[in-house]
Symmetry: C2
Subunit: 177 residues, 2 copies
DNA sequence: TGACCCATGTAAGGGGTTACATGATTTG
DNA sequence: CAAATCATGTAACCCCTTACATGGGTCA
């Protein structure tokens, strides 16, 4: 899939370590691509083996050593190739919907409780996305222009979460009967 | 995850073969849970090994034999257990957003073409969901009541696709500049 | 005749999670 | 004193996709 290419994109704009990437995933890409550190370290190894990354060990005092990765020319070429190729639309595998689909076999109280749990998560996600949007909108024009494509992905998150919440309202009405 | 439990739900309401389930996935659950036949056959084997399904070979003339699976008591208990337990919110790994995020390294023409491809897919999906909704709304009250929970999952699909399209309109405006 | 439906699988490999493992430094 | 941050990994396992494999019946 495209964890590989997400990593290439992040390292293209700024070399970094695995730990570093994990943080950047949580912040920038986190709301539409998740990756745990274990997987990131594995991918970095594979990307290096493929010749797309160079790795330089960097000693630090009073901190563990780190390995700083950066794109090679081949890595850059691969990134461009991937960006040029079509990506497949996403499959969505949503366990909550499976549960609702089969919900006739359990109590509506249970389903309501489940919805409430998810509602809390989605509300929190939306709030944090809106906060990031506020920060973006407060930037000077030049920086806003530089971030306009990442901003589109943020908008996707916001519209998606708002739609989720609108649906949840419908669902709660049905479950209240 | 919950492919196992999606299968249990389908077989609970109606015993069937692997081929059969693959079709039912495409129709009923398909817009929020995807499964290829290869995986379904594997899962059926595992579910049988776990004692959750019984399998009965059924000979047919002028057609290949089929294996009809149905829930055991243990399978039914497992389904109830799963329905009672909380499910984790979904992770979303969306390659299109990764591409947009890194889109500064390619041409906007390329990004526009990519968006157009996805747009066509999402429009088609929405159309088919709306058609299913029309069929649902035309049902007599009693049947509508019986399908109200699956209908909620359909609504999720509709609201989700509409939100996607609204976002795409925003994105196209940005990419048109 | 070619495409599609019925019907079932194996095998290889990639993607991702969970559990386990270590150990110093900084902050509340 | 406890928790979080910095920093890196291994191993086992599950989930899922892709490619390969077979073979009869129906319909245009």
């Amino acid at each position: 899939m495209s964890l590989k290419h997400a990593i290439l994109i992040l390292l293209e704009s700024q070399p970094g370590s695995g730990y570093d990437l994990a943080k950047r995933f949580k912040e920038g890409l986190g709301y539409f691509w998740n990756a745990k550190h274990q997987q990131i370290y594995q991918e970095l190894k594979k990307l290096s083996a493929a010749g797309w990354l160079d790795c330089e060990a960097q000693a630090q005092d009073s901190r563990p050593d780190k390995k700083v990765y950066r794109l090679t020319a081949a890595g850059h070429a691969e990134l461009l190739r991937w960006l040029d190729a079509p990506v497949q639309p996403n499959r969505i595998n949503d366990a909550l919907l499976v549960k609702l689909f089969g919900g006739a076999h359990t109590s509506t109280a249970n389903l309501r409780a489940e919805m409430d749990r998810h509602l809390a998560v989605h509300r929190k996600t939306l709030d944090s996305l809106l906060a990031i949007e506020q920060a973006y909108l407060a930037l000077p024009d030049a920086q806003r222009a530089a971030w306009r494509l990442p901003y589109l992905t943020l908008r996707r998150g916001i519209l998606g979460e708002q739609a989720w919440l609108a649906w949840a309202a419908e669902a709660q009405q049905v479950l209240a009967e």
